[in-house]
Amino acid sequence: MARKDIDYSKYLRLEYIPHIWCPGCGHGSIMKSIIRAVDELNLDKDKTVLVSGIGCSSRIVGYMDFNTLHTTHGRALAFATGIKLARPELNVIVASGDGDATAIGGNHFIHACRRNIDITLIVFNNFIYGMTGGQYSPTTPVGSYASTSPYGNIDPSFNICRLAEAAGATYVARANVYSIAQADNFIKKGIQNKGFSVIEVITHCPTYYGRKNKLKTPADNLRWQKEVSVSIHRAKKMTPEELEGKIITGEFVNKSEEEYTEKYERLIIEKAQGKI
């Protein structure tokens, strides 16, 4: 799908391009993945809503030509839940950083998973708080340096996909910006899933994470992604020791369960109005 000639400009607000992201920041690549996925699905731009919180990744809403909403830090899913429930006919996509989604926004994350409301969450996981200058996040690898872990980070990381699965999301996948076609594909499938979908995309922050952790150039960061990634299929054949430090990519959950707004219509509205 990635090889087709695609008119990115159709989904962008060109007057705001170039975007503010640093040279080589992976967030731009994810935005392109989203465009390709949305283009493939032919979503109606007028009926598509893109919601974000606060962070470098969250700035994506300024660039994409949808109904866009830049909320408060960590709260995008709460706002999105209101939008979706109020107008179930809208396509609702949420873009969030690792900090936004799993630090301050962790509670909304697990609860959106639990409700299985038809929203697609794309987590831009760069293992760091980019916007505020490179402090460690709940996904920063143990031992890494950040501006608040001058002695090396000791906090264990979240496995975002595992958490999403345990909380009840019905589509859960992990990709990275190195294997960009896979990201396109997972985002597409996430949007197609009628229910709550989480697509974690491993990306990079050369400016902060890279600089502090010996991944100097953007290309170094991409190559690192390639090195540490293992597909879910291969991972199954590997021992825990071999998997140490690896990041598993692939689809973890893809199941069908009744979606929240549909259930609301079927079980609450109809009952209240005496139809059932």
Binding site: G62, L69, H70, T72, A78, K84, L85, L90, H108
Partner: protein
């Protein structure tokens, strides 16, 4: 006015019925005493009208979802009490900044902190004005009677929609739980406002272009305009800006939207004020004690009046100044340690002695206490 139904209900229930009449079709909340009956009644009523009720994971998410639903075009409400009101402050500021219509109910209980969850208080007054960071525009209404709550909720929605601003409705444990007869009327019987929108929303690119009341003409999401909403300083387009001029202008607009329209927002009641030599200023359920005090003292020939601000913010400065101009004493009873009295002090410029009547022990201020302060 055609009454649809008369019910013996509590103030909290009246909030729910009033909201339905006002056209509220979305409620997101998180239970907390003494406000929970609002959520409970909304969970029952809304689906009957095709509206949606959702219980979110906390108060932050509740106001977030309510704002989201409003952005998607629904008249929207959330309700809480002190601790939850504190938690909602960040997103309340977002709604102020992004100019999203919203009604936030705070049923006040004893504070600070967990305080006295089932006891009345009126101690979130200044918080309702200043609780979120940054200068922000806000409208605060504090009704007194149960029937009035029904109509003031409608007015709250009207102001929220007309001025695209959050409106805080302050109830307290007493009038929230007090039951009285409420005449419920249909929307056809009352004035109902809807948010200003551009004539043709399709392709509209300037959601913060303002009408003559300084209110932005903003389409709803899904209306065919693909615009941006942000809590950052933004221009008419809704996109962030670093231009000091545009930023300053935005903050002036937010202030002036309230300042210049305040006559459309302010509502007060005057009881025996014309010839009064002593003026009681009271709001919310404490005003009922004040009414009783005035009743009793007038029957004794004491020239006392009651000024009851129903809209607390914007502060009825002119009204307070004028009503107090010729009095010898002002009495301000509040179930807090003295909050709105600070506004009264400021407005009356220290010209008239002010007697404060306060208590925060979880018991209502009695008419006797007020009478004593008046006579003192």
């Amino acid at each position: 006015m055609k009454v649809k139904e008369s019910k013996f209900i509590s103030g909290n229930e009246a909030v729910a019925y009033g909201a339905i009449t006002a056209g509220c079709r979305f409620f997101a909340g998180y239970p907390i005493s003494p406000s929970s009956e609002i959520a409970e009644n909304m969970s029952y009523l809304l689906p009957k009208y095709g509206g949606k009720f959702i219980q979110m994971e906390d108060e932050i998410a509740s106001i977030g979802a309510a704002i989201g639903a409003s952005i998607a075009g629904k008249k929207s409400m959330t309700a809480t009490s002190g601790p939850g009101f504190s938690l909602k402050q960040e997103n309340l500021g977002f709604a102020c900044m992004a100019e999203i219509p919203l009604v936030v109910v705070d049923v006040m209980r004893g504070g600070p902190s967990t305080g006295a969850p089932t006891s009345p208080a009126q101690a979130d007054i200044l918080q309702s004005r200043w609780g979120t960071h940054g200068d922000h525009p806000i409208i605060v209404i504090a009704p007194t009677m149960v029937q009035e709550i029904f109509f003031e909720v409608i007015r709250a929605f009207n102001l929220a929609e007309r001025f695209r601003n959050p409106v805080v409705l302050l109830i307290d444990e007493i009038n929230g739980h007090m039951r009285a007869k409420v005449d419920i009327v249909d929307e056809s019987e009352v004035e109902i406002w809807h948010r200003p929108k551009p004539e043709n929303p399709v392709g509209w690119k300037t959601p913060y272009k303002r009408n003559e009341e300084l209110v932005p003409l903003m389409p709803d999401f899904g209306d065919g305009a693909r615009f941006n909403i942000t809590g950052l300083d933004h221009s008419e387009t809704g996109f962030p800006t670093g231009d000091p001029k545009v930023r300053q202008q935005l903050h002036y607009y937010l202030r002036d939207k309230i300042e210049k329209n305040k006559d459309k927002m302010i509502k007060s009641e005057y009881l025996n004020t014309e010839d009064a030599e002593i003026m009681v200023i009271a709001y919310g359920s404490t005003a009922r004690s004040a009414m009783r005090a005035v009743e009793v003292l007038r029957s004794e020939g004491v020239k006392v009046g009651l000024f009851r601000p129903i809209t607390l913010y914007p502060v009825p400065e002119k009204e307070i100044f004028e009503v107090c101009e010729n009095v010898k004493k002002i009495v301000v009873p509040e179930m807090n340690l003295g909050q709105y009295v600070l506004e009264v002090e400021r407005i009356t410029k220290g010209k008239i002695p002010i007697s404060k009547v306060n208590r925060t022990d979880g018991e209502p201020i009695t008419p006797e206490q007020i009478i004593e302060a008046i006579k003192d």
